[in-house]
Symmetry: C2
Subunit: 223 residues, 2 copies
């Protein structure tokens, strides 16, 4: 990168950080737990959210912000489950930024428990942009291969949780779950890990239990 490019990027990241901190403070004070989901395209973010919705509602209230380059398809899938969803169409941009989320804040119902943000499908660029979340999750689907944490480290070093998805495809898909977890924890020792098959409903209950615990902790810290 040229010096000019680096300066522009630093400006952008600095301003994003401030907006994100403001979003986190506002939502946390309302007792809303915000979760940012990052992954490659097609790793199963929307399918996981559909499955989470089945476990969380009606006892808890959730909403989803969908980030996509084009189409409103993901928001439509979430709305079909009776969950409020807003679609951000980036029109080419490869990641969400805090200012895009910030613009939606006035529309977020104040009595919400969970706000999920589904990032643009991209295992690289979204990792550089804090969106004001309390928990950042990286999803790794088994067909992508167990060698990804060291090849795409930033998504793993900046995340709190690793969710290995599509475990029902192993075998025939050659994916060593223990190898993937070991490699991810070498990159980020504090990463909490989950394994799920959202299509088969496996592992989602445990994940939802941890989301509810995190919500309780947030509200206790607020009190």
């Amino acid at each position: 990168m040229t010096k000019k490019e680096i300066l522009v990027l630093e400006d952008l990241l600095g301003s994003n950080k401030k907006i994100a901190a403001d979003i986190r403070e506002k939502l946390s004070q309302k007792g809303i737990l915000t979760v940012n989901l990052m992954s490659s395209p097609g790793a199963g973010k929307t399918t996981l959210l559909e499955s989470i919705a089945e476990h969380l509602t009606p006892d808890h209230k959730m909403a989803v912000i969908e980030g996509d380059i084009e189409t409103e398809r993901d928001a439509e899938r979430i709305r079909a489950k009776g969950i409020p969803a807003w679609q951000i169409i980036t029109g080419g941009a490869c990641h969400l930024e805090a200012k895009m989320v910030g613009k939606l804040l006035p529309e977020i119902p104040p009595d919400l428990d969970f706000l999920f943000i589904e990032n643009v499908g991209n295992l690289v660029c979204p990792a550089s942009y804090d969106l004001g979340e309390n928990i950042r999750c990286v999803l790794l689907s088994t067909p992508e291969g167990d060698d990804k944490p060291k090849k795409y480290p930033k998504a793993f070093t900046t995340s709190d949780w690793l969710i290995i998805t599509k475990t029902d495809l192993v075998p025939p898909v050659p994916f060593d779950i223990q190898r993937a977890i070991k490699e991810a924890q070498e990159v980020n020792p504090s990463l909490k890990t989950f394994t799920v098959s959202a299509l088969k409903g496996k592992g989602v209950e445990e994940l939802v239990g941890q989301l509810i615990s995190a919500l309780k902790k947030l509200r206790k810290d607020n009190a």
Copy 2:
């Protein structure tokens, strides 16, 4: 984007375009067909190259430039097949640029038939950077879902060939090959399509046949 950000990006893309045109001219004049492979992480670019190598060699000479954010793993896999490979480690950058390829030109053997460039695993950003290729391929693996062409259109509008990979996983993976092809061709009517399972060796022979035809055409145009 701010006006300053847009100007920096325009500079970058303009300069990339010139370098790419120079690379294409130099390699084409040597009779080397250059192919840029783009896809999401884990869509099977390296596995496809391993399978192509088995079909192309020893009758043809091929080499590979590998682009990754970190690690030399993909180049090692290609070298294990007896194929020369250079690893570009971008150190965080989400795509290859023509200048990175240009630096390797002095090392490319002049008697090569095919030069493959495996881009960073990312279905978004690489689509904006011409690398000097003759043929741009986008890979879409069946576990990613058949709804991707309209969600990530630029990778499909800028490509010459679409290669649907991991067809052996359908079923159980819910992927409608005809839907994916139809949608991709709505986005780009001139897209040539292939379906392969590189692990099972299915469809690769036809793809290799088309590569050899394209090489012959390049050399005929040169003569």
